[in-house]
Symmetry: C2
Amino acid sequence: MSQVTVTPQSMHFATPLKLQSGASLSDYTLVYETYGTLNADKSNAVLVCHALNASHHVAGNYADDQKNVGWWDNMVGPGKSVDTDKFFVMGVNNLGSCFGSTGPMHIDATTGNPYGANFPVVTVEDWVQAQARLADALGITQFAAVMGGSLGGMQALAWSLLYPMRLRHCVVIASTPKLSAQNIAFNDVARQAILTDPDFHGGDFYAHGVVPKNGLRVARMIGHITYLSDDDMAEKFGRDLRSGSYQFGFGVDFEIESYLRYQGDKFSQYFDANTYLLITKALDYFDPAAECGGDLTVALAKTRAEFLVISFMTDWRFSPERSRDIVKALVNNRRRVSYAEIDAPHGHDAFLLEDARYQNVVREYYNRIWKAINATGKPDAHGNLPNHSTPPGSAEAIPDSAGENV
Amino acid sequence: MSQVTVTPQSMHFATPLKLQSGASLSDYTLVYETYGTLNADKSNAVLVCHALNASHHVAGNYADDQKNVGWWDNMVGPGKSVDTDKFFVMGVNNLGSCFGSTGPMHIDATTGNPYGANFPVVTVEDWVQAQARLADALGITQFAAVMGGSLGGMQALAWSLLYPMRLRHCVVIASTPKLSAQNIAFNDVARQAILTDPDFHGGDFYAHGVVPKNGLRVARMIGHITYLSDDDMAEKFGRDLRSGSYQFGFGVDFEIESYLRYQGDKFSQYFDANTYLLITKALDYFDPAAECGGDLTVALAKTRAEFLVISFMTDWRFSPERSRDIVKALVNNRRRVSYAEIDAPHGHDAFLLEDARYQNVVREYYNRIWKAINATGKPDAHGNLPNHSTPPGSAEAIPDSAGENV
């Protein structure tokens, strides 16, 4: 399948953005990319939300950097599951990130120095507000779908709650309605590794010309373990030794050590430490049911979209049980939900990887969205597709799924 | 039940100990404690092996420090499961540890400086060799049982392979015949946190008057997450907030953060960084099946002891499946094995905690050992107890176990 060449765009917003914390950003820039063509009635727009270390660069490559392929290029593109010959797809770099949108490494106009530790803590809901402003500016009043995996799935879910009428479909993959204590624990250890690195300088390392590489490296290694399944790690690395025998020292003995250290080193060379802190906090804070006494069914009563929820059986970071919680709460609200539990070996990372069954589930779902767009031109005022036959309040089996369905 | 007051003892060994790595320790001291009385024919001795951060102080307290209670005091003592009114129980601090036995913080006679980074890498098998010399010195030719949890269970298993005739029973709790890639990965991240802490000074931090506290703290936090079950963490901490609302900063938001940071802080104040590195390496290297082409059945053919194997259902660090691998390999060799899988919620830590079913399993097993000692005075040359009715080559159900049995 062909790969598109894409050019990042940016938009500056001069109106202050009030954040969930009470702080506000006086002005900010969002960097984004688009793939495909927006149709005349603007009914074919799809917003793809990114996870922890990804960006607006969802698909395609750059004319001057052809090896720099988007993080979800196996999913989004001409003829792919999210077919950019049909849909107008957008990727937006989140506020606080380190790939172009305003973040801690940029100059705070009020001080003339990089924000550093002064960059405000941003939440999933803040990101959605910023994305909504960009949609406004592009004249997109309603997305055909908002979609994301992991932290991106949280943003999709937040869209369905903050702007129920602005998306017809919500695609939530390998995600969760909230982090568990164990998830938060892993995030906090990663943060502590960064915060206690002497090169972090309280977040103002830019001024010191250093980067808290050791802390970032350990943070990434911890994260990486949670992205892979135990079985997948056993299969790929097992107890394989780098040089055939024990070294009886603290260099590399096992292949898994070499792999993880490499991943940590690579990450620490391109990722911003303040961004890492901010994004893990956004993960920790996300909990839409909290304001409803912890009742997810009550929280999701606000939704109007139709949902596709996908989980992966070996994902122990955000296990299928968490996705089933979302599905159950939606079914309790008589929302239309399709749910697929994919039998893939790759743990949490599976949402980024090639898998025919997974990709077919997404393809079929988007085919259905596309047919509805063309059959009726527009959905009704509730975002429901008149030609869809699933009764509301039921979770529907996905034909290509190898997994079970709620 | 009464608590004994105990006094640590020490023994110096002037004969060099050849290590698995090829290096040797020219001389060394072992610190140990004993509880109960060795009987006339020395048939009631039990060796308890310790895990990562524990020591020779298995049970009881000290006259001058009554709050310093041994790490397995709920298991070992007068009238307890391992009844010191009947058995003579020994705890030995392992070489390389930081609780008295020769370790990296002690002076290397050849240089006049602390060993630091020069302390040789020690293995589970090396510890067994050192323990065997201590047993020799105390005139104990055969233990009634060698027992341990986690890394201590590995030592018990290593005893059954290195000195098959020197133990009549082998009690392996919450352990594994080898670490998985994921286990090694967690250990290596913890090591990297220590190794890259600027205060580590390549292992020679003693000379600099500092301690790599930040690295040790992160290492302990990572380890601690793997000791608890996801469910137990959810039950104890959930998403409880320290002060009732989000702080929108990088201090403490969630109770789990406060708990883990406290555990990390406490650990970094008393534990030695070089010891942490050494002990995690001993864990990583343990793999008795490796020299038998990975076939645990072939490896365990050397054993002569009778086994009690116990695992905990919520232990995801060393899951019940790993214990079942040991049991299966023993059954394949027609060894007598009792196996209990305890339905306790506390993850890997369960082996250290009070649990009536677990403690009864151990109590019944030691009662059986005790009856055999008294019925026959001595086991036969193969270490078999003549009054034991279980046919060899079968795994036996434990009456008080709530769990399933292989």
